[in-house]
């Protein structure tokens, strides 16, 4: 549904988006990750036709956004960053305006408004003026505007920014539900969100795509992936490190926590440990030495870990 090919945007000498390519199909929810200023919003603005690209092509439902902007925009719903709204209108009036601009009129219009208000839980503020709304309601009104025409494609710039935890949860489940039948792109810098809602994630840094995969694939790239965290008691940290370090399958052992009598150690595998051999070896060592194992856990890898590893060196360099 969305095809981005070699997209580049330069503001004067500064290259905000540098040769970015990806595509999103129906049924996919693509999480767009990156530190602040990485080029997420700029990319989304080019996809939605707000700013023209310096180079590259964006195709939405087969329509080139630069050449056939109206056709492409018709297929999309867009929630810009910080959800701008006309503050002098009521929620209903605003949604009605958005519907009319999109060519939805008369009976269809009131149906569309009802549907969007229902989906975004806006019933209680329906007749309220936008400038009296709280941030959460404003955001949901922006969201309602983006789905007013039941678009095939949704582009959302930080849809959960500024919401409280319950509202974040609601918006995420809304995105998941709609993702079954639409192509969705949303940007965020909240990593748990990607795991909770996305089928695929792209990490962008300094305008370039630095990682692209399912949340599980990305997590597997993390250093922590496939390592074991072991909590034992009845021994000493140095001994634990020596003994576990002697296991053939392990590459490195670190002591995470040493609060007698409990020692928490992390054992990293030499290679991807599919069969759980490292885990068995750790158990064997523990029983040979009469350690009391209170917990042993295989790490899946963490999103924030991979995110930091990929993007931190640049942030520090600045």
């Amino acid at each position: 549904m969305i095809q981005v090919e070699n997209l580049t945007k330069a503001f004067g000498p500064k290259v905000a988006v540098d040769d970015v390519s990806f595509s999103v199909q129906r049924g996919e929810i693509l999480g767009f990750l990156g530190p602040n200023g990485a080029g997420k919003s700029t990319t989304m603005r080019m996809i939605t036709g707000y700013i023209p690209p310096t180079a590259g092509v964006v195709k939405v439902g087969g329509n080139d956004v630069t050449e056939k902007p109206i056709e492409a925009k018709r297929l999309m719903g867009y929630l810009p960053e910080s959800a701008p709204l006309y503050t002098d209108m009521t929620v209903e009036g605003f949604l009605g305006f958005c519907a009319e601009v999109r060519g939805i009129r008369d009976a269809d219009k009131s149906k569309a408004i009802d549907r969007a208000i229902d989906m975004c839980f806006l019933k209680s503020v329906r007749h309220q003026s936008v400038d009296t709304l709280s941030k959460g309601y404003r955001h949901r009104t922006g969201f309602a505007q983006a789905i007013i025409h039941d678009p095939d494609i949704l582009v959302m710039d930080e849809p959960t920014d500024g919401l409280d935890p319950n509202q974040k949860q609601e918006v995420r489940s809304l995105i998941r539900r709609m993702g079954q039948s639409k192509a969705i792109i949303f940007s965020t810098h909240i990593l748990e969100e990607v795991e909770a809602a996305c089928t695929r994630a792209i990490i962008i840094d300094q305008g370039k795509v630095v990682a692209n995969g399912t949340p599980n694939e990305l997590k597997a790239k993390s250093e922590l992936a496939n390592s074991y965290t072991v909590s034992v008691s009845g021994t000493e940290a140095a001994l634990v490190r020596d003994k576990l370090g002697s296991v053939i399958q392990s590459s490195k052992v670190t002591i995470v926590n040493d609060k007698p009598p409990t020692v928490v150690a992390r054992v990293f595998p030499k290679s991807a440990d599919g069969e759980g051999e490292l885990g068995r070896a750790i158990f064997d060592i523990a029983s040979q030495n009469n350690w009391k194992v209170s917990e042993i856990k295989k790490e899946e890898g963490r999103m924030d870990d991979i995110f930091r590893n990929i993007t931190l060196p640049d942030t520090q360099a600045q």
Partner: protein, 243 residues
């Protein structure tokens, strides 16, 4: 066309949802009345014309029209709704024209509300109503010309005050370059054809035609171009903002 009307409707409702519309209408009517009767000496003239009424319009509009139009685009920029509007499936031209028409309609409403003075002059005497109609048309075009300039200046900036001041300055130039007290001073300093050319591009010279009761095609074309060019410039500025 329907999308233009949707934009126009929203913009018009925007005026009436806030005190702006009412404050403007009251002040406009008070000012036109005050200028006509107190400064223009409408009664003492003892003439069945509305000259004393229309002669002030270029000056009253100078401040009131930019006040009406200054928010057209700067407000969109300030609120960030420009991003919303321009990612909707409508062309930039529809947005520009829709917004411009809304303000123009609003100013037309204000102009229509001055009808009691027309009734007054018809009650007191026997005026030439074709001259009055022509003058109203001239005043309508004049408002459109100032407004179009304000649309352009409001696209420049997210600050309404800057938009207002820039617009007043440009409109003032268009007034002064054809206003006899100014042209008389410049006349000895520059070749005659330059002075005449500049004076011919003033709103004063052109609105004068209407006030004399003539609907001259040149004056109509003049106003249409003074409306068209700044609207075109508005589109260039907005495209430039996004590049």
């Amino acid at each position: 066309m329907k999308s233009i009307w949707t934009i126009t409707k929203r913009e018009l409702a925007g005026y009436f949802n806030s005190p702006v519309a009412y404050v403007f209408l009251v002040i406009f009517l008070l000012m036109t009345g005050a200028f006509t009767f107190l400064i223009g000496q409408f009664m003492d003239r003892n003439q069945a014309t509305l000259q004393a009424f229309f002669m002030w319009h270029p000056w009253i509009y100078l401040f009131l029209v930019p006040a009406v139009g200054m928010r057209l685009w700067s407000e969109e920029r300030r609120l960030g709704t420009m991003e919303l509007l321009l990612t909707m499936p409508i062309s930039l031209w529809h947005c520009i024209i829709g917004k411009f028409l809304a303000s123009w309609l609003f100013l037309t409403l204000a102009l229509v509300m001055t009808f009691p003075i027309w009734i007054t002059v018809n009650y007191l005497g026997d005026p030439d109503n074709t001259v009055i109609v022509a003058s109203y048309i001239g005043s309508f075009f004049l408002a459109g010309a100032y407004l179009s300039i304000t649309s352009m200046t409001s696209a420049f900036t997210r600050n309404q005050v800057i938009s207002f001041i820039l617009s007043v300055v440009i409109c003032l130039f268009l007034v002064l370059c054809g206003w006899p007290p100014v042209t008389d001073v410049v006349e000895p300093l520059a070749p005659r054809w330059i002075v005449e050319f500049v004076a011919a591009s003033s709103v004063m010279t052109n609105v004068e035609q209407f006030n004399n009761g003539q609907i001259d095609s040149r004056a109509v074309i003049y106003f249409l171009s003074v409306i068209g060019f700044p609207l075109f410039a508005t589109s260039v500025i907005i495209r430039g903002l996004r590049a």
